[in-house]
Amino acid sequence: MKFFDDLAPMDHFRSEDMSLVQLIMPVESAQLAVSYLGEIGLLQFKDLNEEKSPFQRTFVNQVKRCGEMSRKLRFFADQISKAGVTTYPDSASEEVIDLEQLEIRLSEHEVELLEMNRNSEKLQQTYNELLEFKLVLLKAGRFLGSAQNHAVMAETELVENNYSMKDEDGLSLLEQSIQPEPSNMAGLRFISGIICQSKELTFERMLFRATRGNMFFNQAPAGEQVMDPVSGEKVHKTVFVVFFSGEQAKSKILKICQAFGASCYPVPEENNKQKQLAHEVSLRLSELEVTLDAGMRHRNKALASIGSQLWNWTIMVKKEKAVYDTLNMLNFDVTKKCLVGEGWCPTFAKPQIKEALHHATIHSNSQVGIIFHDMDSSESPPTYFRTNRFTNAFQEIVDAYGVARFQEANPAVYSVITFPFLFAVMFGDWGHGLCLLLGSLVLILHEKKLGSQKLGSFMEMAYGGRYVLLLMALFSIYCGLLYNEFFSVPFYIFGESAYKCRNADCSDVHTVGLIKYRDPYPFGVDPKWRGSRSELPFLNSLKMKMSILLGVSQMNLGIILSYFDAKFHANPLDIQYQFIPQMIFLNSLFGYLALLIVIKWCTGSQADLYHVMIYMFLEPFGNLGENQLFWGQKELQVTLCIHLLYREMDVFSMCSTTEILLLVLVIIEVCLILYADIIIDSGHSGSSLDAFSKTIYLEETTDRGRTYGILGTSEMDVDHEPDSARHQHHEDFNFSEVFVHQMIHSIEFVLGAVSNTASYLRLWALSLAHSELSTVFYEKLLLLAWGYDSIVIRITGLVVFAFATAFVLLMMETLSALLHALRLHWVEFMGKFYHGDGYKFKPFSFKLLADEED
């Protein structure tokens, strides 16, 4: 034990030492100090103004201004992306501008941009109208022109035109009908316009109904796509001309046009007037085009210049907002000239922080330095692990279950190896392992490139776990070699098989089987087992026993870690009355079973282990149901047990005396776990409050777990310390609470021992499933397809085999084995010693902010 004390503390095993610090900053250097602290990113500020609403805080105006600026920046980003301008972040011109100047500039840019947008909108509208007019002129002109050729030319303004399109005979009839009755021609007028093609049919019908059929409608598609002002998209439009007579009809038609969103344009009758108008319109159109182009170029230039600075500005604004949010967490002191803040920082970072504060004082030309000193605390500090990119993934896996309590043993240290190992036990196939290895190597080699990109959520997870994948692949290859499976095909890599035929002609290999004639196959499962009829009984027995052995080892490791925890927190109670009973209980049952398994393998005995284990309990256990009193009676219990058990001795086949003793120990330890803590606790209550400065650990029992409180004495004037962390905890010893807690804990452990050990059998179950799936795909897909002579069938078989392997085995089985290995870690391993009710260290850091936003 002394050897363990002399070792250096292991990296990652316990979270970093933290100290609660207090900062007193004069107002002029506060902002600079906080932004420097944000650059370092190692101080977590406590919110001293928790009860205040966001509007009651000191710096609410600045936060509002920052919010306004970020809105403007978002507007710019929107405009840039809509205009499709590609910007090149201009890192060369790093002009250091103040926040107020930035604000002024941003509002200038915004006003400018809005105005440009308005103008271009107006111009665009005019352009559209002119375009529509031009089209109407073109098409309607044709209708009217062809009508005029058939009718008599009149020099009056109101030209009456009767027009019929397709019917040539009808045309001549109409013509004839016109001439003798010129008086009828008065009052026949027309309206020309343009309407969306989709609405055209209903429009026509509506007009027909409204005018009771006394109208003539003609239309032609416009040919070009015109920008619809309502939707902002280009749509097909149709030019129409409606011939009608009478004022009422006209007003009706105009109203209908308005309702349908058709725009009406007056078209003159005479050909030359039309031509003249068309010419004018074209001229104006081209002018407008030029103007529009110029306007767009101007705007794009402005956007480009904004865009080059946009990234820098966004970051600056975000940082300032973060700084003001942090400043809002601080308090003003009595004199209203200083800001007081509290926070947690790792002890190793204190010199760095002091230096940053010193720089801030110098750069802000402040007369007074910033005060930075430790404080005592009675609440538990946050948990902080300094991880690199390799250990980060494993720490996240552990944190997903629960963040470690401050300075308790971190299971991630062992999980780095045991998690991929348990995965491999369930995945064991070195062919699939090689595929996983390739995948993980691809991810690792492209680390830098993938790290800077934005990935989809699935790729993000795969990228984050690339080192986990690498270890999983390596262990899978190892286990695959042990199980001797390469896409379910065994190989003779490590020498000859240990089995051969009994006779020279191998006559009875299908009935009695082979015989073992030499030492076992040196590495892994003998290849002769694959495909034999007794393969499954053998492998099942092997894998089940393997699961029990691995499970017992991992659970023992968990309990041993709880010993180290108890020693670190100087908790002799836990050692004596929790660790030792737990060890003895687990090992007298399942450690004994593990021993029996190994002995059975080594000696080749035929004893039935189920029978042995069950009968160890069957007779003796029933009698101890009512012996639940005070633990001082344990001597009596032992005697009783031995007396009772000696009578049943002849039932056991091996090591009966050992078993009886072990059973007795089991029962003793159960009672110990149950009651000892209560008795000892009640003895201790009141005497451990002596003021032995900062290193007294009181135990408070709550129903979830235990919280450790550090009591200390320090003289700071208590008057103006609002919301400080130095509360005094009073402990009160509640017998019923402790009793219930201990009862729950001991029942959980006792019953959990059986269920957790059985839970490890999933190692067997999943590896069996994997190997069976693998065999099925190999035999029923590949071999079947290879049996045919045709090359097409062979290729198809190969392709289907590859897809099935990739999707079912490589993806689904990987996820499945991953999940089960995770569960084994979280529940069975970490349940033995881990509390996981701490909170993570979240420092005020600009880097973390940037990651969060993305």
Binding site: L7, A8, P9, M10, D11, H12, F13, V413, Y414, V416, I417, T418, F421, V425, Y478, C479, L482, Y483, A498, Y499, V509, H510, T511, V512, G513, L514, I515, K516, D519, P520, Y521, P522, F523, G524, V525, D526, K528, W529, G531, S532, R533, S534, E535, P537, F538, S541, L542, K545, M546, L549, L550, S553, V598, W601, C602, T603, G604, Q606
Partner: protein
């Protein structure tokens, strides 16, 4: 090879690995201890797995009975 011989090979491999890691990645006492823990855990896991599979085949109670197919 015998059980003992291969176990000694595993042990030696673990020793060599830890020495190599100490030589190539020497980053201070705590980190060295962490690396050593990882190597020991890996060696123990691998050895246990191999030993289980080996011992299970030492004195088997059943033998392979080939199937009729091939």
């Amino acid at each position: 090879m015998g059980f003992m011989a291969t176990s000694i090979i595993f042990f030696a491999a673990g020793l060599i690995a830890s020495l190599l890691v100490r030589l190539c990645f020497n980053r201070g006492a705590s980190t060295n201890l962490f690396h050593l823990t990882l190597i020991i855990t890996a060696t123990v896991c691998c050895w246990m797995m191999w030993a289980i599979v080996y011992l299970a085949q030492l004195k088997p109670l059943i033998v392979p009975i080939l199937s009729e197919a091939e």
